[in-house]
């Protein structure tokens, strides 16, 4: 009760309290695992659908986890118009990012210059990841996303440069696998801490609400 009253900070704290659960990290970790697994699946002659399945599992984990673990522990809130506008901007940015990635990919595969192909898409991917994650971090007040954007961008560049310079087949898998594992570990630790810090409330909580 001794904290200072800063309304912007109260709103920010209320909003960002939902990011303490680690589900964003787990989701991103599984999405990166899809990229890491691409070459491995190819090596074993397995379909790309397996990779897509892992990424889908990440999104599903976040949606179900938020609903069954976060909300029952944290409570439910409807934010004000200003926050809703910021979230709309994030949705718009993500849509533009997906369109940008698709266009970049199409330009790359339609280009006749093979050497350019090998570097253009990774650079576009890295810049896109860093910029989009930075914008999302800003609008969502979710500071860790700055770091994750840089991590994803650098992973793409390092993996691709390693592959181009050495021809090592699993270069991308190792780099993205390491990033993926880091995110999954961070997410798991955050989730454990969240569950410990916010146990399920006693049944009488709702009854106390008159």
């Amino acid at each position: 009760m001794s904290q200072t009253i800063n309304l912007k900070e109260i709103e920010r704290k209320a909003f960002t309290s939902y990011f303490q659960d680690g589900f964003w990290e787990l989701m991103l970790g599984l999405v990166l695992l899809q990229i890491a697994g691409g070459r491995v699946l190819e090596y074993f002659g397995l379909s790309d659908y397996w990779g897509a399945g892992i990424a889908f599992l990440g999104v599903l984990l976040m949606v179900v986890g938020k609903k069954t673990i976060t909300v029952p522990r944290m409570g439910r809130v409807n934010f004000g118009p200003a926050r809703k506008r910021r979230l709309m901007k994030v949705t718009l940015i993500l849509s533009i990012s997906v369109a940008f990635s698709l266009i970049g990919y199409l330009i790359t595969i339609s280009s006749s210059n093979i050497e350019m192909d090998r570097l253009t898409f990774p650079i576009l991917f890295a810049v896109n990841a860093i910029v989009v994650f930075a914008i999302m971090a800003y609008f969502m007040d979710f500071d860790r996303l700055y770091f994750y954007g840089v991590l994803i961008g650098i992973s793409m560049l390092v993996g691709k440069i390693w592959y181009i310079s050495t021809g090592y087949y699993f270069a991308m898998s190792i780099v993205f696998g390491t990033s993926s594992l880091s995110l999954i570990v961070i997410g798991s630790v955050l989730l454990y801490r969240f569950i410990s810090a916010y146990p399920l409330p006693a049944a009488q909580s709702e009854e106390m609400a008159r």
């Binding site: 109260i10 709103e11 409570g75």
Partner: protein, 109 residues
């Protein structure tokens, strides 16, 4: 609750809304002011108040018409959503303005 002070005039301490001024209720009002609505659990998490404490302060704020409590069901589970009324929002803004004027008028040292 509070007499409106003329523009620019420094309010007297007696004009400060005592119902909002109580720290726990100030915390609840501030939390509800920055959002649209929240359930009981979210408010206990954000304010750090116990269930009983929050419940009694909510009752006082509801009695004077500063907050409204809506009950509905999510599936089979009951849900209690709380939000500031227009009156509550106005009173909180007035409280902020009065406190800022009152404390702003104090000399620096």
């Amino acid at each position: 609750m509070t007499q409106k002070s003329p523009d620019g005039a420094i309010p007297e301490t007696g004009q400060i809304n005592k119902l909002i001024h109580e720290p726990a209720r100030l915390n609840i009002m501030a939390c509800l002011f920055v959002i649209e609505s929240a359930d009981f659990l979210f408010l206990t998490r954000q304010t750090g108040l116990t269930d009983g404490n929050l419940s009694s302060h909510m009752a006082k704020l509801e009695d004077v018409g500063y907050i409204q409590i809506k009950k509905d069901f999510v599936g089979k589970k009951p849900r209690t959503m709380l939000s500031l009324t227009e009156q509550g929002r106005t009173e909180f803004q007035l409280y902020r303005a009065n406190i800022a004027k009152l404390l702003g008028a104090l000399p620096d040292d």
